[in-house]
Symmetry: C2
Amino acid sequence: MDTNEKLSVLKWISQEYYELNGTRYETMDRLPSSLEFSKIVRVASPIPDATKSWSDDFLISRSGTRPISIAVTPNGRADAVTGGLDGLEYFAEPHTEQITMENFLSKISSGARDAHPEICYLQSQNGNVFSSDGSQESEFEAFKSQIPEDLPWCSEALDSTPDAVNLWIGDQRSVTSIHSDPYENIYTVVRGSKTFTLLPPTEGWCLAERTYPHAQYKRTEPYSRLTLVPSQGTAPIRWSSVADPNLPGALNAEAHPMEITVGPGESLYLPAGWWHYVRQSGVTIAVNYWYDLESRGSSWVWLNLLRGSAEPPSSTGALTAEDSS
Amino acid sequence: MDTNEKLSVLKWISQEYYELNGTRYETMDRLPSSLEFSKIVRVASPIPDATKSWSDDFLISRSGTRPISIAVTPNGRADAVTGGLDGLEYFAEPHTEQITMENFLSKISSGARDAHPEICYLQSQNGNVFSSDGSQESEFEAFKSQIPEDLPWCSEALDSTPDAVNLWIGDQRSVTSIHSDPYENIYTVVRGSKTFTLLPPTEGWCLAERTYPHAQYKRTEPYSRLTLVPSQGTAPIRWSSVADPNLPGALNAEAHPMEITVGPGESLYLPAGWWHYVRQSGVTIAVNYWYDLESRGSSWVWLNLLRGSAEPPSSTGALTAEDSS
């Protein structure tokens, strides 16, 4: 079966999905019960939903001199397709630096931005607050009393505890390139706001995934400028070639993107497999909860099929259910 | 895209599904809560689960002289592929007769079977006890106080009430040919037992669906033998060409059938789209609850895709979500 034939299956699926679902999403003015959330997960369409604002003073006094891992890029595009010095396109990972919260916040505060051409984003996303394996000490131990370890209404509905709970802090110069994760995701904004451009799993074929060699931003000397260095021995990365889905003509005309802005005290349920591109407004703080996708039933098969546009479905590029054999 | 190419997509899906799910099913020794059932529906794998036995005397005294609609066939295969007098194969619907419960039970009681070569089955399945439109009077008004109008744990989980509640009475001479329904189905056995041969929706391609002209058993005179009469102006029916999936070689070697026997006081959750072939042991009485399949999300698209083995997915042969536009 060649690419055109697979594409015709995927187009059929996305048209049928769109005819049934449109670009509908629901808004709730309170947290759902476990039963309500279980039904929401079954339908798997996004739902936006609070917490008190976290001031710079609060963040600094809690963190003290503890170093925290910050992603640094020249352009605010960590984990994104970027042109290298050789003219080729790479999947670029950020440089990571350990600095104090105070230092980090000085680089993203509104007054200081022009003085810092490099763009910093706290986005370590390795379960930086809580992780299911519990083996690593959190860089944010001092914040654990402020962040619930799990969301009972979600854990009860999904019959599991979060695989990872992450703290995210950045400003409007950082964007997250469009991608999808094999996780059920609850994304709560504490301060600022995040705007999600969303596409359902059925429209992955509109995102023109390609395979890119891996590279990482590095400094050749301690204070030198960041350089994108191709990685040796790292497998190429399959990623969408659409840099910004909001630019005119960037997306296939058959795509139906949705835009949802999540403000302070609101949460977004981002179902597993949904494609998301994320922008921020001012200094934005968020906490997200990743829960493993249900391994039973047909969820994995469905998402793997839908990612089969650029590669055969069984290739290494497709999602794999690592531990559900 | 030709049939072989579609088949390769469907084979890939069924292999992936089987690798993740095997032929696992769960047994519960009590009814689930709404939350538990909501999670079960999400995974959509079958679950067997009571009620007191209904004696012939009870049935007859409740029904009195009220006529009830009984399906009559010469071979116990109502709604099944059957050879006609002209040597062609037809999708054969049963003849329907209105007789009293006492008369009906006399035809299926163990002592009288040899004297009645025709095989009777109470299987009107039109919401014969309760139906959501409520327009028709039930032939089983007298049994309504014995049969719950809905199952609260199921209705709450699915956010709906049953589309149809049906009473089924027959003996081991009646079988139900293998098919799937676009309904979530709770099947409770009251007396006797039913044995279900089940295949997941992903293995529909193993069932070799074909299109058959429609026919119905009729009597040319009031007491004459039944004759299979081709229907005029009725659209052909798409149906599996596998007459009995339990016969050696009847199923594709890549199919993974499961067998579940449901005894008195037990219920089976038969998820929407699961293929089922049903046999009975002795006089068997059951009540089933059909709930509409969730119209939001990707369930319809998924089941339509999986039925696309013999026809293009968008043909009239595929399932259609009638009222969910």
